[in-house]
């Protein structure tokens, strides 16, 4: 058994990485409330990949990191309406049974890798030509 970084310090690391920015900026995330010492509520952003039905769109997601994160997967909901195989159209929830990174969660996964994988999923053969709802709609 290696060194296990406890939840709060893991989330602080992720917060700092999110604040500094990473990659090419096509996915990003931050905490909703700078006062929330539990660090539960986050917002993620994904810029739709070019050459797909999502090109030019900016999607925001609500992310919840529970008390057992990262031993347990975070919960994610799209705020922006999107037509994707893994998204429940009733509430925008990313369905873990249809999105393997959440369904077969491992501790090494991070908010960054989940958002990056979702963006990759938008460009998959199954998803990239799906007709999308008009821009600007949100789930309630």
């Amino acid at each position: 058994m290696g060194v296990v970084v406890p939840r709060n310090f893991r989330l602080l690391e992720e917060l700092e990485r999110g604040e500094k920015g990473f990659g090419d900026g096509t996915v990003s995330y931050g905490m909703d409330d700078a006062d929330d010492m539990q660090m539960k509520s986050w917002t993620g952003t994904i810029i739709g990949p070019p050459g797909t039905a999502h090109d030019g769109r900016i999607y925001t997601l609500r992310i919840q990191c529970g008390n057992n994160y990262p031993d347990q997967a975070p919960l994610l909901w799209f705020r922006s309406k999107i037509n994707l195989a893994c998204v429940d159209q009733r509430d925008g929830r990313v369905d873990p049974s249809k999105f393997p990174m959440l369904g077969q969660w491992r501790r090494e996964h991070t908010l960054e890798t989940v958002l990056t994988e979702l963006r990759r999923d938008m460009a998959s053969a199954m998803n990239k030509r799906l007709q999308q709802p008009p821009e600007g709609l949100t789930y309630n």
Binding site: M1, G2, V3, V4, V5, P6, N8, F9, L12, L15, A34, D35, M37, M39
Partner: protein, 158 residues
């Protein structure tokens, strides 16, 4: 210790084991630190607010983690109890040089906790982490101290 903990302890660097034993057997006054059961690198810490400070009478909970490269890298420490202090931000992160660039492997968990206790006695608004708190401290020190005392009463009671 149960067998799972023994297995964990067997992998723990000797230095961490010795520091832990000493923290438990000779705790520094006003400070307690004990490793959590399922992660011997993760400590539950309590620091009593120093007398003559606005934190007097408060019991402050913190968490401390020894990263993989400890003691080459400093421990990570955070307040869990809300505290009004210019060098502690809203998430409980602490601005203290020995937790950053002034860290040396010659320092220990004990020295870190004593330094945090000292920081409670001597807030340093010139090296702030919480900008608005630091500004309050500089523009109206008695008022800031009143707020700190008030927060101690509201949030730091055991």
């Amino acid at each position: 210790m149960n067998s799972a903990q023994e297995a964990q302890a067997a992998q723990l660097p000797r230095r961490i084991i010795k520091e832990t034993q000493r923290l438990l057997s000779e705790p520094a006054p006003g400070i307690s630190a004990s490793p959590s059961e399922d992660n011997l690198r993760y400590f539950n810490v309590m620091i009593l607010g120093p007398s003559q400070s606005p934190y007097e009478g408060g019991v402050f909970k913190l968490e401390l983690f020894l990263p993989e490269d400890y003691p080459m890298a400093p421990p990570k420490v955070r307040f869990l109890t809300k505290i009004y202090h210019p060098n502690v931000d809203k998430l409980g992160r602490i601005c203290l040089d020995i937790l950053k660039d002034k860290w040396s492997p010659a320092l220990q968990i004990r020295t870190v906790l004593l330094s945090i206790q000292a920081l409670l006695s001597a807030p340093n608004p010139d090296d702030p982490l919480a900008d608005n708190v630091a500004q309050h401290w500089k523009s109206d020190e008695p008022g800031a101290i009143r707020t700190a005392r008030d927060w101690t009463l509201r949030f730091a009671q055991s």
